[in-house]
Structures are given as structure tokens and as C-alpha cells.
Symmetry: C2
Subunit: 254 residues, 2 copies
């Protein structure tokens, strides 16, 4: 049992959730490793939602509120880390949820659908009836009712290829990605550089307090290029500060 | 099968090795996640051995060649990634190998010892008869013949606590850690900021071409503080360059 007072409590709890999800058959091997990659970026960011994240989250909520058919795409890691929060967000902005896996396995699909079912939510994706063009077959599978006909898709923790394929279909793509340098981050229309659970929790609150006029206004001024630049500047500054601190505090020599 | 021409071939092969090690019961859950954290740092470094790495590797080889009783401490990830190379390095510098796990389990210890045995090498650690002071019991276990009596210990992919405990025992500690900001990196006498397999392969070559006089001379000039500073400057510069490239090449706006 990790005490709540532990300085890395949040991060360690998320690690536990991912391992738990792996044991349940929801998270793939590659998902465990990907979680570690994310941990490093969150560590570099400082493990909090910075302004560039909050701004993008606000724009994402605005876009989803104004969408005709918004869909949140979920994979194993998203399910293990934040299924409950994703349901709450979907309900707040009127979005559907659809499962899509990088390494598709019918067993994992079924387990993820069941996980959401247990939490009281029916999600799409178990019975795909459409194809995203220009994507390797198993990853291209989607549903007409969901991602195929969506105008806005939120793809958290996504791979670059699919983000591009969705964009090429004319969809508005929002991503949550701790690495502002990734292809996904660079390809999406709105890039939320934040940890998944923090981001979704912020977005739930924002959705509850935003009306249509505000949503339109927010999108008028949103500039994803500037957001990406700010997030990179932040990481650079953090690294410089951390280096300076270490260099002045330690005097270790061989 | 990943083709050798794939731009991320090396990185993907290492991922496969870690997953293989996990399936064999050699790598822990936490080891899979830790591998992901390392991937991010290696990506930030540029996935090659920079000068600050080569310099530290040379000093590490020198120190091990001059040691009375050098020991290489191995865990699950080190075994999965580079057991063969570690044996070759141990033989080149006249070091012993001892297994030590952060999450000790007799089953994993046994499997790691067997893995080395299959490769023709008997390693220490299965029957501990000594204790590293000031460390939680199961992690403190070691052997008199190996780590306990060693003057120089190479602890690749190590946790900060144990590095400090070994240093407090008066030992000379060398680490291989992709994160120059980690406590391990900051606590060791020689910090090799490089990917494990690349580092060990470099060190094997260096050991084969170094005599005692050269070794003494190398250590005279080695400054770990400067090495850490250089590695951080390198990562900072890489991030700045990557940011600049992205900002000039992409024109994506919502």
C-alpha cells in the first residue's frame, strides 16, 4: 500500500493501474513500455497541468461540445488508467466511446468492452463495419455509427499513423500526448500535452461550466502551433533549471 | 520480423528482448515500465553513444581493470538485454557477476542464474551470506565473495538507494543510466549516460586495447561532474534543435 503522502503517490498509483490492467488482459506488453515512456515526459513536464495543457483542454472541450458526432477512441492503457473519467467526459460533452487497438486482439477488445459495461457504459468497436482508408487492416477497423461518421475524434495516447489517417478523412482530431515531439502531437488539430487522467478530469470540470457561445469564442483564438511551441519551451526550461540546481548543489567528483 | 533497415530497428529489437525476458520470468512488471522510461531518454539523447558516454565508459573500464575485486551487479532487465555482452565484459576486465533484484523473488533469481549458466557463466547472488547496511532487507542481500568485498561495483540500470548504500560502504560505484538527473546518476562516481547494450559493447572493445598505464592516466583526468553537465547540455541542445526543426517545418494550425 503506497501512502498518499508519498511525493510520487499519483505516479505510482497510475503504474499500479497499468499493471493491474495488464494482469486483466486489457493492456498489451507494448502498453506497459509505452506507459514508461510517458512517465519520463511527465517527469520532465513536472507532473502537473501547465497553461499550455489547460488551454488545449479548454479548446478540446469546446470543439467536442460543438461537434455533431464526437467520438472518444479508447485503447487498453486509456481503459486501465481512466475508464471511469472517460465515461464522465463522454457524458458531459455528449460523445460516444469506441475501442480501437494498435495490436488488435478480439480477446482484448471484448475485455475492454466488458470493463466499460461494468462501469455502466456501452461502447462501440466490438463489431466494426467500416474501414479507415490508408491504414493497416486490423487498425483500420471502426464502426459507421462511431469513428467512421464522426466529425470530431479524441484519440488519447494514440499512434501517429492513425491520427494522420483520421485527419486525411477530414476529421478534426484531438489528442492527449505527453510527448510534444511525437508524430501524433504534431499531426493533431488540438494537442493536449498532459497526463491522461489529469487532462480528462480537467476537461470534465470545463465541460460542466461552458456554454455554446463561450465554446465558439475559445476556438476562435486557439492556436495549436503556439501550444506545441510553449510546451517545448517549458520542457527546455525545466531541464535547464534541473541541470542548474544539480550543478550547484552537488559537488561530487571521483 | 522487423527488417534491419527499419530506422528504429535497434530500439524495437531491445523492446522485443525485454518482452521476451518478461515472458521467461526474468523481467518484472516494473522492469517493462522502466524500459519505457529509458526509451524516452535514449530518444532525447539521439540513440547513439555521445562523447560524454564514451569518456565515462573509458574511465569505467580503467577503474575495473585496476580494481582488486570488481563486480558487475545484474538485474532482470540487464539479463534480458545484454547477458552475453556482460559476460564478455566481465571476462575482459576480470570482474565477477552477481545478481541483485529490486523486487527480489527466489524464482527470478534462479531464472537469471540459469540464463547465465546457459551462456556458460556461473554468477553469484543465489546464496547471499552478507548484508549491505542501511538498505531494506531483501535488496540488501549480497555475497561476501562478490559485492560485499568488492572495491569497484558496476551497477547498470540501478536504483538510487542502493547506489548510495554501496558508496557509503566505501565502494567505488559505476553506473549506466540514461537519465543524467536520476539519483543513481548523481550519486555514482562514474556515470555512463548511454544505453546499456551500446555502453557494454563499447567497453568490451576499450578493455581489449587498454594497458595499466593508460588506465591510470585516464582516471587522473576523469571528472564525473563535468560528464553529467555535458550530458544535460546535450539533451537540452537536442530538444532545442528538435523544437526549432518542428517549428519551421510544420505549419499546422487548427
Amino acid at each position: 500500500m503506497i501512502p498518499k503522502s508519498h511525493p510520487r503517490y499519483e505516479s505510482l498509483m497510475k503504474r499500479e493501474k497499468i499493471i493491474e490492467g495488464f494482469k486483466k488482459g486489457i493492456v498489451a506488453y507494448a502498453g506497459l513500455i509505452a506507459h514508461g515512456r510517458g512517465e519520463t515526459f511527465d517527469y520532465l513536464i513536472g507532473e502537473r497541468s501547465e497553461d499550455f495543457a489547460l488551454e488545449a483542454e479548454e479548446a478540446a472541450v469546446a470543439k467536442m461540445l460543438l461537434a455533431k458526432n464526437a467520438v472518444i477512441s479508447v485503447n487498453g492503457n486509456v481503459t486501465a488508467l481512466a475508464a471511469k473519467e472517460v465515461i464522465e467526459l463522454a457524458d458531459s460533452v455528449g460523445a460516444k466511446i469506441e475501442v480501437n487497438l494498435f495490436y488488435r486482439s478480439e480477446d482484448r477488445i471484448r475485455k475492454i468492452v466488458e470493463e466499460f459495461k461494468t462501469l455502466g457504459k456501452d461502447i462501440l468497436g466490438a463489431n466494426p463495419d467500416a474501414i479507415i482508408p490508408n491504414l493497416e487492416h486490423s487498425r483500420a477497423l471502426c464502426t459507421k455509427e462511431g469513428i467512421y461518421s464522426a466529425d470530431v475524434v479524441l484519440v488519447p495516447l494514440e499512434d501517429g499513423d492513425r491520427t494522420k489517417a483520421l485527419r486525411d478523412m477530414g476529421k478534426f482530431v484531438i489528442t492527449i500526448d505527453l510527448n510534444p515531439l511525437s508524430r501524433t502531437a504534431q499531426t493533431a488539430h488540438i494537442t493536449i500535452v498532459d497526463e491522461l487522467t489529469r487532462a480528462v478530469k480537467n476537461m470534465i470540470k470545463m465541460a460542466q461550466n461552458m456554454n455554446i457561445d463561450e465554446a465558439r469564442n475559445i476556438l476562435k483564438w486557439y492556436d495549436n502551433h503556439a501550444i506545441l511551441a510553449k510546451s517545448l519551451e517549458h520542457i527546455n526550461r525545466r531541464l535547464e533549471n534541473l541541470s542548474r540546481q544539480l550543478q550547484s548543489s552537488s559537488g561530487l567528483k571521483t
